[in-house]
C-alpha cells in the first residue's frame, strides 16, 4: 500500500543528509518513483504526492520535478516528442475504501523552467469503486514496440492488477476496451517488453513501514501482453507467482516500483525506491541498479564496489596490465611439483616492493596478458565523489594497487598509465555493468575527442579505446577479486 497517510508525509522527508558512496547523492528522497525519463539532457522521475526529482547527470538528484494532480505513484514515458504522465489521482489504502482513478496527461517538456512547460488536462482512463476487487492506483504504461499499441496496468494488493489499452496519440482509453485481470497480490506493477516477451513486474511485501518494509520486486512473463504472466516455475501471477528481481540488501530495505531505462543496446538500468535506507535515517530514496538479462529473465545488477581487482577482458580472459618486464618468482619449478625435498610450504606472492623500482618512472603503456596475480596486474578502483556521475553511478580512478599510477585515455584514442593521478577528466572512468553481467569502462573524456569511447581489446593482448558495441566482446570487461 501506500497511500493517503504516506502521501502527506513524503514532503516532510525531503531534507539534506549526508549520503554514503553507494547511494544516489544529493537529495534523492522519493516514494513510488516513476520510470526515469530524459528530457533535454536532464533526468526526471515523479513520485507520490505531486513532485519529483531532477538530475543533470543521473547521479546527483534534487527535488524540482513538477506535475499536477497529486495522488499516488505516477509513471512517465516519452512518446514521440511529447511526455505522457499516468497517475492515480486517489489513494485507497488497505484499510480504507478503494475508489480510485487512473489519469493521463501530456506535456511537451518536463522542465518546469521552460516556457513550454504546461500539462494538458488530465483524462481518466480507468477507475475502481469502493468494494470492487481492484484499487485503481499505481499505473504503469507500455508502448508495445511490435504493434504500436499502448497499455496501462494498475492496481494494488486489494484485488487484481488490471490492464487496459489506451490510444498512444491521445492517451485516452480505447473505446470498447475491457480491463483484464493479470495478477493478484501485487502493487506497483510495471509492464515492459523485450525479445518477444512481455514482462509484468510487481511489488510484493509490506510497504511503508520504514526499515521493516519487506517490499520486494518480482516478475512474470508472457508471450501475450494480456497474459497469462507466469513465473520461472510456471506459476501464474494471478495465483501469486513471481520470481524475485530484487529485495533488501546493502543496508536498504523495501525495493518497490520498478522502472526500466534503456541507455542503448546492452546498457540498461532499473529504477525503484528503497523504502528505507539505513544510512539516510531510514528514509525512502531513489535507487538505480544495472538491469541484467539471463535466459530472458531480468535480474538486478550490482552497484560497483570499490576495491582491488583483476580487470579481465571478456575477449580472451587476459588481464589488463602494465607493459613492464615480467619478474620471475622462485618456487615450484622442477619435477612438476614433486621434488624430493619440497615441503608443503606456502610461497609468498610477489609484492609491489619486489618490482616497483624496476618499473619506468614516467608513462607506462598498458597491455593485456595472462593473469598471474602480480603487482602490475592489480588495479585499485576508487570512487571520486567530486567528479560527478552518470545514470546510477559515479566516476572512479583506476590505479595500480599501492601506487598513484593511474589509467588514462590519450588524445590518439589509446590508453596508458600516468605516474600520478591528477584528477584530469581522462583519468576518470565510468564503470557500468551491462545486461550480460560484464562491464564497460568509459573515460569521462578523451582529450580532443567528442565521441564517447570505451576501453576495448583491439587484440587479445592490446587495449585501446573504441566506440561501444554490445555485440562484440572486445568492449567488455570483468572485475575479478581473486
Amino acid at each position: 500500500m501506500k497511500r493517503q497517510n504516506t502521501i502527506l508525509g513524503i514532503a516532510a522527508l525531503l531534507s539534506v543528509f549526508t549520503l554514503n558512496s553507494n547511494a544516489q547523492v544529493g537529495q534523492p528522497f522519493i516514494h513510488d518513483p516513476s520510470t526515469i525519463v530524459k528530457c533535454d539532457g536532464k533526468y526526471y522521475t515523479f513520485g507520490t504526492g505531486g513532485g519529483g526529482l531532477i538530475s543533470e547527470d543521473g547521479w546527483n538528484w534534487h527535488s524540482g520535478a513538477q506535475r499536477p494532480g497529486g495522488g499516488a505513484a505516477p509513471d512517465a514515458m516519452k512518446v514521440g516528442d511529447r511526455y505522457l504522465i499516468v497517475y492515480g489521482s486517489t489513494g485507497g489504502g488497505l484499510g480504507g475504501g478503494h475508489a480510485g482513478r487512473i489519469n493521463t496527461m501530456w506535456n511537451t517538456t518536463l522542465d518546469p523552467q521552460s516556457p513550454d512547460f504546461k500539462f494538458t488536462e488530465a483524462v481518466e482512463i480507468a477507475s475502481s469503486e469502493i468494494d470492487e476487487d481492484c484499487d485503481a492506483i499505481d499505473p504503469s504504461v507500455l508502448l508495445d514496440p511490435t504493434t504500436g499499441r499502448m497499455w496501462v496496468s494498475y492496481g494494488t494488493y486489494y484485488g487484481f492488477i488490471r490492464i487496459v489499452e489506451i490510444d498512444p496519440k491521445t492517451g485516452e482509453r480505447v473505446k470498447g476496451n475491457v480491463a483484464k485481470d493479470i495478477a493478484i497480490d501485487c502493487e506497483a506493477s510495471a509492464l515492459i517488453y523485450r525479445n518477444g516477451w512481455y514482462y509484468l513486474l510487481g511489488t510484493h511485501g509490506t510497504c511503508c513501514d520504514g526499515v521493516n518494509s519487506t517490499y520486494n520486486i518480482v516478475v512474470g512473463r508472457s508471450r501475450n501482453v494480456l497474459g497469462p504472466y507466469l513465473d520461472n516455475v510456471g506459476r501464474d501471477m494471478l495465483k501469486g507467482g513471481g520470481r524475485m528481481v530484487i529485495a533488501a540488501g546493502d543496508r536498504k530495505t523495501g525495493a518497490g516500483h520498478f522502472g526500466r531505462y534503456v541507455e542503448e543496446e546492452g546498457v540498461e538500468k532499473m529504477s525503484f525506491h528503497w523504502e528505507a535506507d539505513y544510512d539516510q535515517g531510514g528514509r525512502s530514496v531513489l535507487a538505480i541498479r544495472p538491469l541484467l538479462w539471463k535466459n530472458d529473465w531480468p535480474y538486478a545488477g550490482e552497484l560497483f564496489k570499490e576495491g582491488t581487482y583483476e580487470i579481465e577482458s571478456e575477449r580472451r580472459g587476459y588481464a589488463l596490465e602494465l607493459a613492464v618486464d615480467f619478474v620471475r618468482q622462485q618456487g615450484g619449478r622442477g619435477m612438476f611439483g614433486g621434488g624430493a625435498t619440497a615441503g608443503p610450504q606456502a610461497i609468498e606472492e610477489q609484492s609491489l616492493i619486489d618490482v616497483y623500482e624496476k618499473w619506468p618512472k614516467d608513462n607506462i603503456d598498458v597491455r593485456i596478458g595472462d593473469y598471474m596475480f602480480r603487482p602490475h596486474q592489480k588495479w585499485t578502483v576508487t570512487a571520486v565523489p567530486e567528479a560527478g556521475g552518470y545514470l546510477g553511478g559515479q566516476y572512479y580512478k583506476i590505479t595500480i594497487a599501492g601506487t598513484k599510477r593511474a589509467l588514462a585515455a590519450t588524445a590518439d584514442r589509446e590508453v596508458i598509465t600516468v605516474p600520478q593521478y591528477t584528477g584530469a577528466a581522462e583519468q576518470l572512468w565510468r564503470i557500468e555493468q551491462l545486461t550480460d553481467g560484464t562491464y564497460r569502462i568509459m573515460p569521462k573524456e578523451v582529450p580532443g575527442c567528442d565521441e564517447e569511447l570505451v576501453l576495448m581489446s583491439s587484440g587479445d593482448s592490446t587495449p585501446s579505446l573504441g566506440k561501444f558495441d554490445f555485440s562484440s566482446d572486445n568492449y567488455k570487461w570483468n572485475f575479478r577479486n581473486h
Binding site: 607493459a323 613492464v324 618486464d325 615480467f326 620471475r328 622442477g334 597491455r367 596478458g369 590518439d412 584514442r413 589509446e414 583491439s458 587484440g459 587479445d460 593482448s461 592490446t462 585501446s464 573504441g466 566506440k467 558495441d469 562484440s472 572486445n474
Partner: protein, 284 residues
C-alpha cells in the same frame, strides 16, 4: 612457445647429465654448443622436394625427440620438405588472402641464439628490445633484400629467401627445418615485405600473432611488440591506429624463439576488427 613435450625432453636431458651445459652439446639441431662458435659457413638451402610429405603440413619427415623421464636419445634431423608450407615468390604482385593475412615474405635464414635454445622465459620486453636492437647485418632496418642476397652474421653467411606461404601463417620453423645445417631452436628470424597501396589507408591496425616473441616496424616506425613466451594467435597484439601510405610501405619483423614451433601471422584490421585487403604485396 615452450610446450610440455619440450619441457619433458629437456628434463630428461637434465636428468641424464645433471645441470651442466654439456648436456646441450649434442642437442638436436646441429653441432653447436650453447657457448660454441657459429656453425660452419656452408650455406643452407630450403628443401623443395616438389610434393608434400605424407600426413600433410603437420606430418613431415622430422625426427622427433623420443623418450620420457630418464631417457635420452640423441636425434639427428634431416632437412624437411618446405613444399607443404611455402612456394617461391613470383614477380606478380600478391593480394592478401581472403582473411587479409599477408603471405609473401622475404625471410632471412635464422640467426642462432644458443642461450635461449632451451627456454623462452627470458623474453621480457627489455630483453627482446635488446636482442632486436642489435645490429646483425648492415642496413638491418632499411634493407629490402632480394631473393638470394646473403648477409654475414657472426661470421656465418645467411641467405634471404623470397617465399609465399601456403598457409595464413608463416611457418618459420618449417622454413628452418628445410635448411641444411640450420638450427631450429634458439633462433632469431628477420622478415620483410612490401605493402603497396593505391591510396592512404588511415585508422587501421597491424595485427600480429607470433611464436614466440616478436617486434614489427612499419616504414621504420615501431608498430607492435609481443613479449613473453607466446603462442601464435591470430590478432594477438595490435598496433595503435596507423596509416598505410599511398605507394610502397615496408613492413619488417623480427621473431625470436627458443624451443618450439616458430611462426607468425600478420594482417591489417580496421576499426571493427575486419581485415583490410585493398593492397598488394611484393618483395621489392
Amino acid at each position: 612457445m615452450t610446450n610440455k613435450r619440450n619441457l619433458i625432453f629437456a628434463m630428461s636431458v637434465l636428468l641424464s647429465f645433471g645441470l651442466c651445459q654439456n648436456a646441450f652439446a649434442q642437442f638436436p639441431g646441429g653441432g653447436q654448443g650453447p657457448q660454441g662458435a657459429p656453425q660452419g659457413a656452408q650455406q643452407a638451402r630450403p628443401a623443395f622436394q616438389g610434393q608434400a610429405p605424407q600426413g600433410g603440413p603437420q606430418g613431415g619427415q622430422q625426427a622427433r625427440p623420443q623418450g620420457g623421464f630418464g631417457a635420452r636419445q640423441p636425434v639427428t634431423f634431416e632437412p624437411t620438405d618446405i613444399t607443404p608450407y611455402f612456394s617461391p615468390s613470383t614477380k606478380k604482385p600478391m593480394a592478401p588472402d581472403s582473411e587479409g593475412f599477408i603471405r609473401r615474405w622475404l625471410l632471412l635464414e635464422p640467426i642462432t641464439k644458443s642461450t635461449i635454445r632451451n627456454s623462452n622465459t627470458p623474453f621480457v620486453d627489455s630483453y627482446i628490445r635488446e636482442q632486436f636492437g642489435m645490429q646483425y647485418f648492415p642496413n638491418q632496418m632499411t634493407l629490402i633484400p632480394r631473393d638470394g642476397d646473403v648477409v654475414k652474421v657472426d661470421g656465418k653467411d645467411l641467405k634471404w629467401h623470397a617465399l609465399d606461404s601456403k598457409l595464413y601463417n608463416t611457418k618459420l620453423f618449417r622454413f628452418a627445418t628445410s635448411l641444411e645445417n640450420s638450427d631450429r631452436y634458439g633462433i632469431l628470424f628477420w622478415a620483410v615485405t612490401v605493402i603497396n597501396c593505391d591510396e592512404d589507408i588511415e585508422n587501421i591496425r597491424l595485427a600480429v600473432g607470433s611464436n614466440s616473441a616478436s617486434m614489427w616496424w612499419l616504414n621504420g616506425e615501431e608498430a607492435v611488440i609481443l613479449s613473453g613466451d607466446r603462442r601464435m594467435v591470430a590478432d594477438d597484439a595490435t598496433s595503435k591506429r596507423l596509416t598505410l601510405k599511398k605507394g610502397k610501405n615496408v613492413l619488417r619483423g623480427a621473431v625470436i624463439n627458443g624451443p618450439g614451433m616458430s611462426d607468425f601471422c600478420v594482417r591489417f584490421i580496421d576499426e571493427n576488427g575486419n581485415p583490410v585487403k585493398n593492397m598488394t604485396i611484393t618483395n621489392e
